[in-house]
């Protein structure tokens, strides 16, 4: 337990540092491009339109998911995914790529994944604004359910931080792990209810799909924006999600504390 608390304290104490470094990362990333930071939004937009074209118009013949237009349904799942996927893959690599810079000074290595996550979060929040516009255009409102949005964003951040803390440590030591993370994330895109609905499956299969903690987030975002249910209504799922997150955090924190001084030895 204490390693987790220590690591969280490190994040809070160093938050200004995390924030500035994340801003620098974003700036540095697109410095060489004429469109600069716009690429942060062009990329996901293109991807969403492709998926909408293929899965929205092509396979489903433009039909709707219940009374919700498919594009709205897709966007609510896709936008968190565009945050989750790069955060996890880049975050897992963050220690490996930065430890060289950082090892020459006293620097809290545990904030490296946070920097990546925060960098992606900026883009995510912008996309959320975009989503809000789309929802307004379609006249869809989650009503009071929208107040649970911060809860789901918080859950998402804690989960992703737990995963990246664990994977960044492992992938600094075992490089094969990074390749595995990439493959698993590609697979997760299809295993998480992003462009399909969970309701078309039998009850038991639905539960199996829900064992994936990312599904909790995606389903949660849908429940919030479409005003379907509260997070505590399915309390067993919420319990499961937090136990999972906590377990990953604890293992990640213990591993990280044990290896943080030795990363340089493995490079």
């Amino acid at each position: 337990m204490t390693p987790v608390l220590r690591i969280f304290k490190e994040q809070i104490v160093n938050f200004p540092l995390i924030f500035r470094l994340a801003m620098y990362d974003i700036k540095g990333q697109y410095q060489m491009h004429y469109l600069g930071i716009l690429w942060q939004f062009i990329n996901p937009l293109i991807q969403i339109s492709v998926y909408w074209f293929i899965f929205g118009l092509g396979l489903r013949q433009g039909s709707t998911t219940g009374d919700i237009p498919f594009i709205v349904y897709l966007l609510i799942g896709m936008i968190p995914w565009f945050f989750i996927s790069p955060s996890i893959t880049q975050g897992s690599n963050s220690v490996y790529t930065k430890v060289n810079l950082v090892s020459k000074m006293k620097f809290p290595v545990s904030i490296l994944p946070s920097i990546t996550i925060l960098g992606n979060l900026v883009n995510f929040l912008f996309m959320m604004v975009l989503l809000t516009i789309v929802l307004v255009v379609y006249g869809i409102s989650g009503g009071w359910y929208l107040i649970q949005l911060p809860y789901y964003i918080f859950s998402l951040l804690v989960l992703i931080y737990g995963i990246t803390l664990f994977s960044s440590t492992v992938s600094a030591i075992i490089r094969d792990y990074q390749l595995m993370v990439q493959s698993v994330m590609r697979m997760m895109f299809f295993l998480t209810p992003i462009f399909w609905t969970i309701n078309t499956f039998p009850e038991k299969v639905q539960t199996i799909i829900k064992l994936n903690p990312l599904a909790y987030i995606i389903i949660g975002f849908r429940d919030t924006f479409l005003g379907r249910s509260w997070f505590f209504e399915d309390w067993t799922y919420t319990l499961y999600f937090w136990l999972f997150t906590f377990l990953v955090l604890v293992i990640g924190a213990i591993l990280h504390e044990n290896f943080k001084n030795k990363f340089v030895d493995y490079l």
């Binding site: 540092l17 410095q31 060489m32 090892s103 000074m105 829900k210 377990l247």
Partner: protein, 539 residues
């Protein structure tokens, strides 16, 4: 003087792995490394504040490892390193982002060192001036020459005010004017009481900066003394070594290398500390218990009513009781007796006639209700129910009431479905007879004028018209409207009857009376009397 650095028997050992997988095994301490290399072995020294210490040695003598140990970049394998103050290691272009401009890099590096925004603003002009790279400060670092990069890196490092400055060969790329500038800066540093470590293989550079010199040779501290003493000894050693012929040089180096590299089966794991393994039993247990909890909660997701499930205690022990509980929901007879149980649900009479009483002891008979009459059950008192019927409260025996209807019962029946069960005479003209439902008694009397009929009262004191020829009878309510139509001689062997009797909404306790509904009618089947009674829905 204050002691700043203290090394006590410090060793840094690296494991030499033949395969990548050996390293993995080593991490989890499954297998002790067989071959190790002592980059630094058994080094002890003390350094005080305000000192400039040079570290000199040939290639591979452990200078850089020592500087990393000083900067606390790597932990020692054995021995202890005590450092009082913030060390900063200056290595060539370390920590610079190639895509960012000089200015941005200054800000970034200062940030990473934990300076606040106002502090950065304060220190930036001094860094720019010291680095002396002119217009290039606005250009991305990748367009810099190596000298410019080194100067910028160095300028940043000396301006973030470290307590201990460790310079590892960083000045070798700078020209002599820059070198002079650095020497001046070092003097300033020393005057402030800060400590400098200067690592180089150039004796002249080391001598010009340091007060004392550490001479490292093949991982061991050969000498640590005043700069004149060490530089004499070092020059002597270099001269001696250079005079050796090719083979002697090779043999000498080989010997020293094999000394550093020894097979040491009892050495502690070099990558972890001596005593502190990464995975202790307690940690394992913690993780294991959390894993079990996680699996438990995952399994709970597969359970339909997790709340009830948990409340029912240990599920395995109670598994046998569960089915009977779910059945008892529908039939109050099986329910466990407990006095005063609030129910607040609709109940239905399951006897031919149920007696309503005014008192709880069931002595004062008030009235009787026919089969399938709906009452509102308020609560249960031992074996009696307190019910509300026509806005009055009554008591009755709990055996004569069923709480709720059977869920699977037939609700969407139509009259046509029942046709096979009708007697032949009625089947051909049943629509005609049903047309008189809810009609006035007078209208019926005039329409059926000439038919053989009888007019009497039944047990519920309703007026009843009977037509014995057709086998039907009408009963009228208090408003003299035809309320029910009763059919005699029902063909009980029809398929529809046998299938209906299995799916009734209500079955009387003597298993003779059944209750179904259609969209318009409540239907009562009496197997004993072979009658079907149709009653208009009250809604």
């Amino acid at each position: 003087m204050k002691r700043v650095v203290k090394f006590t028997n410090v060793s840094k050992q690296y494991s030499l792995f033949k395969k990548k997988s050996d390293q993995l095994l080593d991490i989890f301490a499954f297998k002790k490394p067989t071959k190790t290399f002592n980059a630094v072995s058994n080094v002890s020294f003390e350094v005080f504040e305000g000192e400039a210490v040079g570290i000199i040695g040939t290639n591979g003598s452990g200078k850089s490892t020592l500087s990393n140990l000083l900067a606390q970049v790597i932990p020692p394998t054995r021995g202890s390193v005590e450092i009082n103050g913030e060390p900063t290691l200056v290595a060539i272009s370390a920590g610079l982002n190639n895509h960012l401009t000089g200015y941005e890099n200054i800000e970034l590096k200062c940030l990473m060192h934990g300076l606040s925004k106002s502090e950065i603003k304060e220190v930036t002009p001094a860094i720019v001036e010291f680095a002396d790279i002119g217009e290039f400060i606005d250009q991305p670092i990748k367009s810099y020459s190596s000298g410019m990069k080194a100067r910028l890196g160095f300028a940043i490092s000396v301006h973030i005010k470290p307590d201990i400055l460790i310079i590892d060969e960083a000045l070798s790329v700078g020209d002599s004017t820059f070198h002079q500038k650095c020497v001046d800066k070092f003097k300033e540093f020393k005057a402030e009481g800060k400590t400098i470590f200067f690592i180089s293989h150039s004796l002249a550079q080391v001598k010009s900066i340091s007060d004392r010199i550490i001479w490292m040779s093949h991982g061991q501290l050969e000498m640590f003394d005043d700069k004149e003493t060490v530089s004499q000894a070092y020059t002597k050693y270099i001269d001696w070594f250079n005079k050796l012929d090719k083979n002697e040089k090779r043999d000498f180096k080989q010997n020293k290398l094999t000394e550093q590299m020894k097979i040491d089966p009892f050495s502690p794991d070099p990558l972890h500390g001596k005593t502190k393994g990464p995975f202790r039993i307690r940690t394992y247990l913690q993780i294991l218990s959390m894993l079990i909890l996680l699996i438990g909660s995952g399994a709970l997701m597969f359970v339909e009513n997790p709340g009830d499930y948990l409340k029912s205690g240990i599920p395995l022990l109670k598994a046998e009781e569960k089915p009977s509980e779910s059945i008892s929901k529908g039939t109050p007879n099986d329910e466990k007796t407990s006095s005063d149980e609030v129910i607040s649900e609709r109940g239905y009479v399951v006897e031919r006639t149920a007696s309503l009483y005014d008192d709880g002891d069931l002595n004062q008979l008030s009235t009787e209700l026919p089969f399938a009459t709906s009452v509102f059950v308020k609560k249960r008192i031992d074996d009696t129910y307190l019910v509300v019927y026509n806005d009055n409260e009554y008591y009755l025996n709990s055996k004569s009431i069923q709480i709720g209807l059977n869920e699977e019962g037939v609700k969407d029946l139509t009259l046509g479905d029942l046709e096979p069960a009708f007697p032949d005479t009625f089947a051909s003209s049943y629509e005609y007879f049903f047309a008189f439902m809810n009609k006035d008694m007078d209208e019926l009397e005039s329409s059926f004028d000439g038919f053989e009929r009888s007019k009497e009262k039944d047990e519920l004191s309703r007026v009843v018209f009977e037509f014995p020829d057709d086998g039907i009878s009408y009963a009228f309510n208090e408003n003299k409207k035809a309320e029910t139509i009763k059919l005699l001689n029902v063909n009980l062997s029809a398929d529809i009857i046998s299938s209906l009797t299995q799916d009734s909404l209500l079955l009387s306790s003597d298993k003779e009376l059944y209750y179904f509904t259609t969209a318009d009618y409540d239907i009562f089947l009496d197997e004993e009397k072979k009658t079907l009674t149709f009653k208009l829905n009250s809604e």
